[in-house]
Symmetry: C2
Subunit: 140 residues, 2 copies
């Protein structure tokens, strides 16, 4: 099931970190947030509870792997997780490593910035490799 | 493990909807968002990946139940899920029913409001009862 008008069904110009038949992980660097990642369900589904229990568990296992890898690779002060989908109602999760001196901390990244903010860069290859390690053996 | 300075360890003045030994669900109505709920882990833990796999699965099962009940009771346009914890680093999830005419839609509730917004009220007793139904039989 795909929607021809949905940008997440098309998925062009993405920095792919990992994928299987059910979902994909992309790097989605934002100004000030080079470690911003997204986990995107393959099919055009709206809510987590529209998935079967095993599909939900699979997606969450991929998300935990992204969290583990980000913690390993850039050691953030906090991980922020969000599945909103108000703008693009195709199931996806934001995984955002946060630092005390980033532009919005301790607010959400969707709030007004509090300061210019320090960028905490990351080695994208190290992230990709660690993610592969974490996701090795995950049942597809 | 509790932290005497942590408001989520204390948990005073909460509208409790459901609890077991591992976590609790509270109604956390905000201006414009009477259906705003939170799922709070009992222990003072920072990140989801600090939990064991079975603890994570338990917390997520409770969250899916809250989502299902909110969808059943007030039929929102979208469910928003977020675990941030930048301000209070004690593991908790926001479960927020969203409507096209609420104050921030389609932005996150942490963004600047776009309009005065319409409140979509809910029957708290119906929510509590439906949640009980959804969580019946969940292994503790």
């Amino acid at each position: 099931m795909t929607d021809k008008t949905c940008p997440l069904c098309q998925g062009s110009n993405e920095i792919l970190l990992w994928q299987d038949e059910q979902c994909r992980v992309i790097a989605a660097p934002q100004p000030g947030y080079p470690g911003f990642c997204r986990v995107i369900w393959r099919e055009h589904v709206r809510e987590m509870t529209d998935l079967s229990q095993s599909q939900r568990a699979h997606m969450m296992a991929v998300i935990w792997a992204v969290v583990e890898s980000l913690r390993q690779v850039i050691n953030p002060a906090k991980i922020n997780l969000a599945s909103l989908g108000n703008q693009v109602p195709h199931l996806h999760w934001h995984v955002i490593p946060r630092f005390a001196d980033d532009a919005h901390f301790p607010d959400a990244v969707w709030a007004a910035p509090r300061r210019a903010g320090v960028e905490h860069g990351l080695d994208m290859n190290a992230l990709r490799q660690d993610l592969q390690r974490c996701l090795n053996g995950l049942a597809d």
